[in-house]
């Protein structure tokens, strides 16, 4: 299903989606973030480059209570699970790299034993994407990691900016339902609209981006470069702040801890919070032994997980080229540069590789 939405009627479309809570990028304190929008909000535009945080927090919040615990009068522990039952929500303005990121989160939280909390949130979420006519960041590199500025993965609807209007394309049954709910605001798409959208797509794909070199060879080369001294050298300026992982649309590591409100009687919550492989105590054993004891080992873990380990398991990179980790790094560590340098060194040391 393809339809046309006049840009001035975006607020009217939101108003038509009465069965959903709508979130869209809003500029707050100079930062783009997903916020709930009220129906008919006349000022609603999708003018963002990309949001500072990806939409992953909608299905995987930074802090989440698994269950509360307390003691019954006879001293027995009593657990109260808090699996959420959220009302339907739709997130507007999701860039294709972040749609791609959702597919990886869905993979991780859906495989082996599915994560009840993630599934509960994800089950009532819909994502309306916004294609990138030009790279929203100078650090974008989606095309070399299997993505596209017009990519549809993970999204329910894709909107394509045609200057004064959007071409709106349903990609899933949920997307069809959204467009059906908004049909009073949408108009028929014609051949001219489709041709224009195709032109935008070709122009977007032709737009130069930064690139991981020879991506198909990267997993093997990173494996060969596991012992490289480059890891330590490239990680040298790292301050271990973890911002690269906190802003990543695919990073999913977390911690589980008990937050205690009272020791006697015992009362509190078991809580999941985002965690980061860049933190020293992430892997530290109780004995003090740490399998990844230094910055180099931790940079290698972040990069290799995305470009080698996940690829070995799933055949795709766990990096979507959004560039957030590069933009936000306070010391200028650049994942594209790191991959390229380590891979190039490994290639140079393995002439048989060619």
């Amino acid at each position: 299903m393809e339809r046309i939405l006049d840009k001035g009627r975006l607020g009217a479309l939101v108003a038509a989606l009465a069965d959903w809570t709508v979130l869209a990028p809003a500029l707050q304190d100079g930062l783009w973030a997903y916020r709930p929008v009220a129906g008919g909000e006349a000022s609603l535009t999708l003018g963002h480059p990309n949001t500072v945080q990806p939409p992953k927090g909608q299905s995987f919040p930074q802090r989440e209570v698994f269950f509360t615990f307390d003691e019954t009068p006879d001293g027995q522990p009593r657990l109260t699970p808090l699996v959420p039952r959220p009302a339907p929500r739709v997130v507007f303005g999701v860039r294709p790299c972040d749609g791609q990121g959702l597919t990886h989160l869905d993979q991780v939280f859906g495989e082996e034993a599915p994560d009840a909390y993630y599934q509960a949130r994800r089950g009532t979420l819909a994502y309306v994407g916004l294609a990138c006519n030009s790279p929203p960041s100078r650090h974008c590199f989606c095309t070399c990691v299997g993505g596209s500025p017009f990519g549809e993965a993970g999204l329910d609807v894709l909107m394509i900016d045609l200057s004064d209007r959007y071409l709106v394309r349903a990609l899933t049954p949920v997307g069809e339902a959204l467009m059906t709910a908004g049909q009073g605001v949408l108009t028929e798409a014609g051949a001219q609209d489709r041709a224009e959208a195709q032109q935008r797509r070709l122009a977007a794909l032709a737009h130069p981006q930064r690139a991981v070199a020879a991506p198909q060879a990267v997993p093997e080369r990173l494996k060969a470069g596991f012992g490289s001294a480059l890891w330590e050298r490239l990680a040298q300026p790292c301050i271990g702040c973890g911002i690269c992982t906190f802003l990543c649309p695919t990073c999913h590591c977390f911690d589980i801890n008990d937050e205690v409100a009272s020791q006697s009687p015992v009362c509190g919550s078991r809580v999941r919070t985002w965690d980061s492989c860049q933190f020293p105590d992430f892997t530290m054993h109780t004995s003090g032994h740490n399998p990844r004891p230094d910055l180099g080992a931790r940079l290698r873990q972040r990069v290799s997980h995305k470009f080698q380990y996940y690829f070995e398991n799933h055949g795709v990179f766990q990096c979507t080229g959004c560039g957030r980790c590069i933009t936000a790094c306070p010391v200028g560590i650049d994942i594209v540069t790191v991959v390229n340098q380590v891979a190039a060194e490994a290639a140079a040391m393995q002439p048989a590789d060619s």
């Binding site: 590591c253 078991r270 873990q301 398991n313």
Partner: protein, 274 residues
Amino acid sequence: MEGNSYLPQLARVVDIHEEVPGERAIKTFRLEFIDGDGFSHKCGQCAMLSIFGRGESMISIASSPLVHGYKQFSIMRAGRVTSAFHELAVGALVGIRGPFGNSFPVNDWHGKHLVFIGGGCGLAPIWPVIQTAVTKREDFGDITVFYGGRSPRDIMYRSELEKLRGAAEVYLSVDSPEDGWEEFCGFVPANLMEKEPSPEDAIAITCGPPAMIKFVIKNLHALGFQDEQIYTTVENKMKCGIGKCGRCNLGKDYVCTKGPVYSWADLKELPQEY
């Protein structure tokens, strides 16, 4: 709740046995599920134990899968959760979820000689295999158990080890001898070299401190054991148990789902991040 892997079941501490005293004390806890039979497990699998208000810790299930009605865990006092376990009294209720991980391929070892090499609290993860082997004694060839601790007081499962004699050859050792110690003095890998178990039709299963495992594997190779004949377990820090929280990985594997049991042939291919 059905399908919520993070929600523990409740279990009652029905017995506590002090294995090792002192600073690095080890106690064995016998837990019974308060609601039905709980879950069944295989040799080598782990469970996440909770004390509410303190947190969770991943602990090897030390009892045999052939034993029903309870599970045993031998816990060294080390951090926040394990220290809290050491404060418990019989009757306490704790949380348990699992089982997690793969298992020792015990059924593939029928007819083989089994050589167990443990050190410190590393006897616990391989204890279910030892128990299974002596319970189904006719399914296996010779059974040999090497085990060592720092001093005679650090030998865990002392009386159970004595009961193994007859069904198995048991070779104990201590790093620092005391008066009255009549068995081997020295490190476990050295004891292994002195007794020279044959690699012929044999499987070696080792667990203990990382430094011990390193030298055990070196010595097993010297004795002629192939990588495929050597099994060990990896004990990385874990939180979720279901391959999501990310901290226990070795390269592409999450130890909590693909491990903790590895043949050396498989383990040597993974990053040495354990």
